[in-house]
């Protein structure tokens, strides 16, 4: 059986001979939620950009359902770290742009409108659909970014530190929203993060990256906690604490940040 998404021996060098990533291989199953965690500068965003097709690998390749992907496309929708909403379009307009482009030939005008509103509802932003990005909060912008990505009906959803710029309470709300949607729609998700709790809460597997240069996958942790996961009751669960400790050990004992060391 061919794997759903295969990252196959990826090397990436921005300048000749200096590798950012070296020998990264990872196979992801359909419907799986995978987090990639590591210190800043370890090349995890580069890895995500390679999967997205925004950056080309120096060696190796990415295969989605057996076919190599080497350019960006709506089948691998990205939720960008800084939301990347177009400020001259409304919340609705931003999502509609994606819907019109992806479903322009397959859905009628009314269907595209309903599809847009449906995805805004998923992230609880339907009531703010007429507002411009400048008029809503950071968390709301990120919700719209998620709605835009989901509305493309991607085969893989790529989240690039989606909650990094948000305050802790807003981040928790958004994590719950993402968890709920991923459970409901069965999305295949790759999320870049540097937040251990976030990784444990949301992921089926946590991929831990070693420090660069020539960063690679150091360890992969299966998180077999039952779903839906509730952040409050989990703080007492030993499985949660074990998973959390293992990631912390990896990050702060074995692969301390070179600058912080």
């Amino acid at each position: 059986m061919i794997p759903y998404l295969q990252i196959d021996h990826i090397d990436k060098a921005f300048t000749q001979g200096t590798y950012v990533l070296k020998g990264v291989s990872l196979t992801i199953n359909k419907g799986e939620f995978v987090s990639i965690i590591g210190h800043s500068g370890c090349g995890k965003s580069t890895l995500l950009n390679i999967v997205a097709g925004l950056t080309g690998p120096t060696n190796g390749g990415v295969f989605l359902e057996g076919r190599q992907v080497d350019e960006p496309g709506p089948d691998r929708a990205v939720v960008f770290q800084n939301h990347s909403l177009l400020p001259w379009l409304t919340v609705y307009g931003n999502v509609k742009l994606a819907v019109d482009k992806v479903f322009g030939s397959t859905k009628s005008r009314a269907e595209r409108h309903d599809w847009t509103m449906h995805h805004l509802q998923l992230v609880h932003m339907a009531h703010e659909h007429h507002k411009k990005p400048a008029e809503i909060s950071g968390g709301m912008k990120q919700r719209v970014g998620i709605a835009r990505a989901l509305a493309m009906e991607p085969k893989v959803l790529l989240l690039d530190e989606p909650f990094g710029a948000l305050d802790a309470l807003t981040r928790a709300q958004l994590q719950d929203t993402v968890q709920e949607i991923a459970a409901r729609l069965g999305n295949t998700v790759i999320m870049i993060t540097h937040d251990v709790d976030e990784a444990v809460l949301l992921s089926d597997r946590i991929v831990m990256m070693t420090n660069g240069p020539a960063a690679t996958i150091g360890e992969v942790l299966e998180v077999s906690l039952p779903r839906p996961r509730d952040r409050l009751s989990m703080t007492d669960s030993s499985a949660y604490l074990n998973a959390r400790t293992r990631v912390l050990r990896f990050l702060y004992e074995r692969h301390r940040h070179p600058v912080a060391a």
Partner: protein, 301 residues
Amino acid sequence: MSQSAIAARPAPEQIAPAEGSAAVVQLGVPRRSFLRRHILPALPGIAARTIPPLLGLALALGVWELLCMGPDASMPGPSKVWAEAKELVLDPWFVYGPQDIGLGWRLLTSLQRVAVGFSIATVMGIALGTIVGSSTWAMRALDPLFQVLRTVPPLAWLPIALAAFRDSHPAAMFVIFITAIWPIIINTAVGIRNIPQDYRNVALVLRLNHFEYFAKIMVPAAAPYIFTGLRIGVGLAWLGIVAAEMLTGGVGIGFFIWDAWNSSRLSDIIVALIYIGVVGFALDRIVAMLGHYATRGTAKG
């Protein structure tokens, strides 16, 4: 927003006493309260904004009058200008003959030339700016050319334009075009080069084609820069038209000044200068307002 909210709130208070009291009383109440509620509180604000410019104007006129008071002053003071040229101010739309028309008509003629020249400059400037902004090779090829040509003063183009078009009317419009186009090209190019990588990434993920990228990402993202270029361009165009018309003749405001100078009507020249200033200011404001309207919300959020 907040003003209308204040305006809406007193309504129930006005109705409530009316139920108990006679209808005769009620008629007077809203009118007096409207004055008290809306006109009187606004007065200090209006005064603070209108009195300083009026004082400044009065001061400038006073200094001017003082400087030109002597019997052998070479320039007319404001009172003399008013006495000699008030007809030009009071009636800008008279027509006494083919060359003897009001300043309003002359300004319209000049504005028409600016409109044609500036419109062509806008279209070509944005097109060229887009090419230079999106292609490194086009930038390397054309940017040095633009940088040199943009420093050529408008009037230096006039002889070439006259030779090429063999007529003063299109030559004047060409001078406007060539004056206004450089800031439009340069600002558009800068705007396009400054489109954030985020927006490019969105376009890449969505697989927007070239036309969609141009219409949906490039133009709106660069719009604030483009409007800055247009605003500088319209100012330069207005500077250029007056100079060009002084040399080419015809019925424009520039030629009027030259004609008045040749017949020693200094007061007419001063009135024309004021008109030119006011129109130039209005053009600048109009383009700025269009820009403000067109780029609402484009500020980063």
